[in-house]
Subunit: 223 residues, 2 copies
């Protein structure tokens, strides 16, 4: 029985990967680099995007179970934004998959942007399972969540290219051992790039903007 279950799941992921590759081909043809931005709920994905996105030739694809609050925040910055709501799935899908992103491609202004940031649903488990056609993966990890998170959600931390360690302005006010966190992160994903940032105070935001601005250059270098 167990063997059968695993097989079904592998097929589903295989189909997802096929569609993700098709998305990637479309993005490559348009010359658009794509970031899959992930985190737990409330870790600060949108706030960190608000800090940097207006300075880039970029668009945003917002994934949420319900509502368009984050898309409204990005649109207020005159950045092109497209919303996907996952709630037509059973009470709300907990992640974006390649097919959801594919359905949004006709609405994306690919000719007008160099960079597309896909803001995933807030969740540290399933979003890491589903490639959507991205070049790189960035995760936001809030220090308010505790230093054990890399050990508890290893796939997410292991498959990302950059960890934004956010809310460092709270370091003095929470029981969070930064050295222990970085040790745990290193254990799960040795050598992964990381930036200490605060969307609230602006700490590390310039470095984050520079990192993001280099994503299209990197893509061109590979292409």
């Amino acid at each position: 029985m167990h063997r059968t279950k695993v097989r079904i799941v592998e097929d589903a992921l295989d189909a997802n990967n096929t569609i993700a590759r098709a998305n990637r081909d479309d993005f490559d043809r348009a010359g658009v680099a794509v970031v899959n931005l992930m985190s737990a709920p409330g870790a600060g994905k949108t706030s960190l995007l608000e800090r940097v996105i207006a300075g880039l030739r970029a668009g945003v694809l917002e994934g949420d179970v319900q509502g368009s609050a984050d898309a409204d925040r990005i649109a207020a910055l005159h950045v092109p934004v497209t919303q996907i709501n996952t709630d037509p799935g059973f009470g709300g899908e907990c992640h974006l998959d390649a097919n959801m992103v594919r359905s949004a491609i006709p609405d994306l202004p690919l000719d007008d942007i160099d960079l597309l940031v896909i803001e995933n649903v807030g969740n540290l488990v399933c979003p890491a399972e589903f490639r959507v056609g991205e070049d790189v993966r960035v995760m936001v990890s809030s220090i308010a969540e505790g230093e054990d998170k890399p050990l508890k959600y290893p796939l997410m931390f292991r498959t990302c290219d950059l960890v934004l360690v956010n809310k460092v302005d709270l370091l003095a006010h929470v029981d969070f051992d930064l050295d222990k966190y970085l040790y745990n992160l290193e254990a799960v994903h040795p050598g992964v790039e990381r930036l200490l940032v605060s969307a609230r105070t602006g700490e590390g935001v310039d470095e984050w903007r520079e990192w993001l601005a280099r994503v299209p250059e990197r893509r061109r270098a590979v292409a």
Copy 2:
């Protein structure tokens, strides 16, 4: 196509509900009240349990993708604890379902406890979809996650019996409008019980312990 997909999911939830009822029957026969404890990653489920669980005739069932760090913390308090890891599923299931809990029942010391707390996987989406045989649902909502969370994850907030608004010791240090949060909560789940708590300072912990201690009494009153 879409219609077919929804139908499959409804069947899966229907099977889950059947097993959840079987779990509930077993718990009822043993006279054990069951709490399904849910939250986003790092909101403070384990810390709030540590504060109150030793004073009750209770056991804990820990659900995690990987590892047993939380179970170790509970076991250190000499409270009986059983661990479920969901990572044999595809890279880690993002929630507990009724069948996972069912597989753990033979390992639970049901004769020695009045209360079982099931600590779910950290996630604000799918855990709300899956009944596991609980009497009541408690969610922990950290103020560090922002005041918009009830609007973004409405099913979770709508289906719980108590909201523990945690980390209120950080109110002075984050941009969090408590009135706006409570307004959003009321919009999604009018009249739901809520307690302002801090696992760090102990604020509200006595009220949380009393609430939890009343769960077995409530169950007996209904039975």
